[in-house]
């Protein structure tokens, strides 16, 4: 028998080293969610669904994360809808935030030592305000968290390789039950600067930002989804509805286009979302979510041919995902397992179950029947009819990106026809 020569062995070692060097480090995910209904000032009326949003962000991130921390005081309704979750929460105070950040940073430092790339999603849902000095704050239970503190306590000391900052402050809610007057707040660019400060953000190229920037004086609630509309859009997109090119990943550009499509039908100025979505400068193609990685999730395949406004409600009546799908492409949305769901469209619905991780249900094979859900009332007609009224797909995405002078990479769809 011939033994391999030294040259062959050296080549093998080089190949192994090369393969290891070219492989991207494994990403491990963490999420820290702060959701508070109450504001720090008397003029700030309590929110109704910030805690619901916190709970749903928890359910979104938990199956794909190593650890998720929820700082929130869930109200009675939310605790009833999410049994067992209250025991896992801690109050949204400065001390709890400090403690959670310290623990997560310890774990992420260990991950880095192992050669992994920790990714932290920091989510805030609640009241926001711009102070007299122009510095933005968000409300914790025992006082405001200022922009300066966000940078000095959350971003600067973080051991995460990438941070996804998602902020849905109270003034970004577009609810049906309007409170306050028409927006008189700062202009779009000023609002962004007020909360984050453009220059300061440049010092953190590993941070991507998803930010609602609507006026603080306008507040809406949409009881049909028991949620802020902006957060509902974000969660829908991250569940897979925002994956316009079928690569299983939702990046910042896709999220931005998804939110634009979902809210395009809202012609009322109060309903127009003002969002600031910016990828990490370090990697502008960084994905907020990747359905290709293993997770404790099931998947609903919405095949080519099935089109229109669709939404998935779970057995609790919670609208988990909403979208307006183009006919010409398949789409997959990820959903927590171990529960029953309704896939609903206008006037029809179909039921399905996801019982185990990685299970795929083909919506094309579901038995549809006439919907038994009644309209909830005239006051919600605007949102019911106009939100998600525009199909989201390649056509919208390309047009939307072209409006910014950006040409998306060519679609690979035609490549499948190459013999």
């Amino acid at each position: 028998m011939r033994t391999p020569s030294h040259r062959t062995l050296a080549l093998g070692v080089l190949l192994l080293v090369g393969t290891a060097a070219s492989a991207a480090p494994e990403q491990v995910h963490y999420a820290l969610i702060v959701a508070s209904n109450t504001g720090t000032e008397k003029s700030q009326a309590p929110l109704r669904y910030a805690d619901d949003d916190g709970a749903r962000y928890y359910e979104l991130f938990a199956p794909r994360s190593r650890e998720v921390v929820l700082l929130s005081v869930l109200d009675a309704d939310t605790q009833a809808l999410h049994p067992g979750l209250a025991a896992k929460t801690r109050p949204p105070t400065h001390a709890s935030l400090e403690d959670a950040l310290r623990r997560l940073n310890e774990r992420m430092a260990q991950d880095r030592a192992r050669g992994q790339a920790p990714v932290l999603s920091f989510v805030f849902v609640g009241h926001g305000k711009r102070g007299a000095a122009g510095e933005g704050t968000v409300s914790l239970l025992d006082g405001p968290l200022t922009r300066t503190e966000l940078f000095s306590r959350v971003l600067a000391p973080s051991k995460a390789s990438f941070i996804q900052l998602i902020v849905d402050a109270c003034d970004s809610y577009f609810f049906v039950h309007s409170r306050g007057s028409l927006p008189v707040g700062p202009a779009y660019a000023d609002a962004v600067k007020g909360l984050l400060g453009g220059r300061e953000l440049e010092r953190f190229p590993q941070v991507g930002v998803v930010l609602s920037t609507s006026s603080e004086q306008e507040s809406h609630e949409w009881s049909a989804i028991r949620s802020g509309v902006f957060s509902h859009m974000v969660r829908s997109a991250l569940s897979g509805a925002g994956d316009v090119n079928g690569d299983g990943r939702v990046d910042y550009a896709e999220l931005r286009a998804f939110v634009a499509a979902a809210s395009q039908g809202l012609d009322d100025v109060r309903g127009q979302p003002r969002v600031f979505i910016q990828p990490p400068a370090l990697d502008r193609a960084f994905a907020l979510t990747d359905m290709g990685t293993a997770a404790s999730l099931g998947y609903l395949l919405v095949p080519t041919g099935l089109e229109g406004r669709l939404w998935v409600e779970d057995a609790r009546g919670i609208r988990v995902v909403e979208l307006h799908k183009e006919r010409e492409r398949p789409l997959v949305v990820s959903l927590p397992v171990g529960r029953g769901y309704y896939l609903r469209g206008t006037g029809r619905e179909a039921t399905f179950n996801l019982t185990r991780a990685a299970e795929v249900v083909d919506a094309g094979g579901l038995a549809w029947r006439e919907s038994t859900v009644a309209a909830r009332g005239a006051v919600e007609d605007a949102f019911r009819d106009k939100l998600f009224s525009v199909p989201f797909g390649q056509r919208f995405y390309r047009g939307y990106m072209a409006s910014f002078g950006i040409t998306p990479p060519p679609d690979e769809a035609d490549a499948s026809l190459v013999p």
Partner: protein
């Protein structure tokens, strides 16, 4: 024989066999979600091999399908229901249309298949294909397709049945009729023998001393005829009844 020569022979053999409208299968290029195009193509090829192995499938080559799709402009219009997809199968001159979505979600590779029959039925199946196990995709694709194909083949047999197997009741009833007719003939002959023997001995009256032997012989002949008649009529009745039952059983 080299692999390339074998492939060439297989290709020529496939080309030589003309697909008719009852056996032609068109497998559309797979769509994909969360999977690189090379992986999706590998899963499509595994499915293609599984379809080719089905006994009643004459699979159109990928090149021909791709050429036809390109010729159709972009792609065939996306259908939202089974009727539309069946019409697509008809327009492609195919008995069955196989579509698939190759998925790479949840860290696993899988395929969601839809098989549409030109006659209006549709079935769906899925299979997982572990990336690290060579050949596993072919096995899983075969199993999944067998699930999908079986109902369609059953339907084919059911629809084809009236043409061939309704011969059986006709044969049975025909044979029964003949048996009855012959049985009646034997019955008449037996009755004739009986009447002849009953009239003063009939032919045996002139037999003299052999009368008893002649009479016994004629009597036996009459009995044989009567027995044959009874048996034939019984068999004829049974065949007729069986034919009627099988005729009703095979009524479409």
């Amino acid at each position: 024989m080299s692999a390339s020569a074998t492939s060439l022979l297989l290709w020529l053999a496939q080309g030589a066999v003309a697909c008719d409208a009852d056996t032609r299968v068109v497998l559309m290029p797979f769509e994909r979600v969360a999977l690189p195009s090379a992986d999706a193509r590998a899963l499509e090829d595994a499915t293609r091999r599984a379809v080719s192995a089905l006994p009643d499938a004459c699979l159109e080559s990928r090149e021909d399908t791709a050429a036809r799709l390109r010729g159709a402009g972009a792609s065939l219009s996306s259908c939202g229901n089974t009727e539309c997809r069946s019409a697509q199968a008809v327009s492609l001159g195919a008995r069955r249309l196989v579509r698939g979505v190759a998925l790479g979600v949840g860290g696993r590779r899988s395929v969601a298949l839809t098989v549409t029959d030109a006659r209006g039925t549709e079935t769906r199946a899925q299979f997982e294909a572990p990336a690290l196990t060579p050949g596993e995709a072919d096995t899983r694709a075969r199993q999944a397709l067998q699930e999908v194909w079986a109902p369609l083949r059953t339907e084919t047999v059911k629809q084809a049945a009236p043409r061939g197997s309704r011969l059986l009741p006709k044969v049975m009833m025909g044979a029964g009729g003949v048996a009855l007719a012959v049985g009646v003939g034997f019955g008449i002959a037996a009755r004739s023998t009986e009447s002849r023997v009953s009239k003063n001995g009939g032919e045996c009256a002139s037999a003299g001393e052999d009368f008893s032997g002649c009479f016994a012989s004629r009597l036996d002949a009459g009995r044989r005829q009567a027995r044959t008649s009874n048996v034939l009529m019984g068999v004829g009745a049974l065949l007729g009844l069986g034919g009627a039952v099988s005729f009703i059983w095979e009524w479409p």
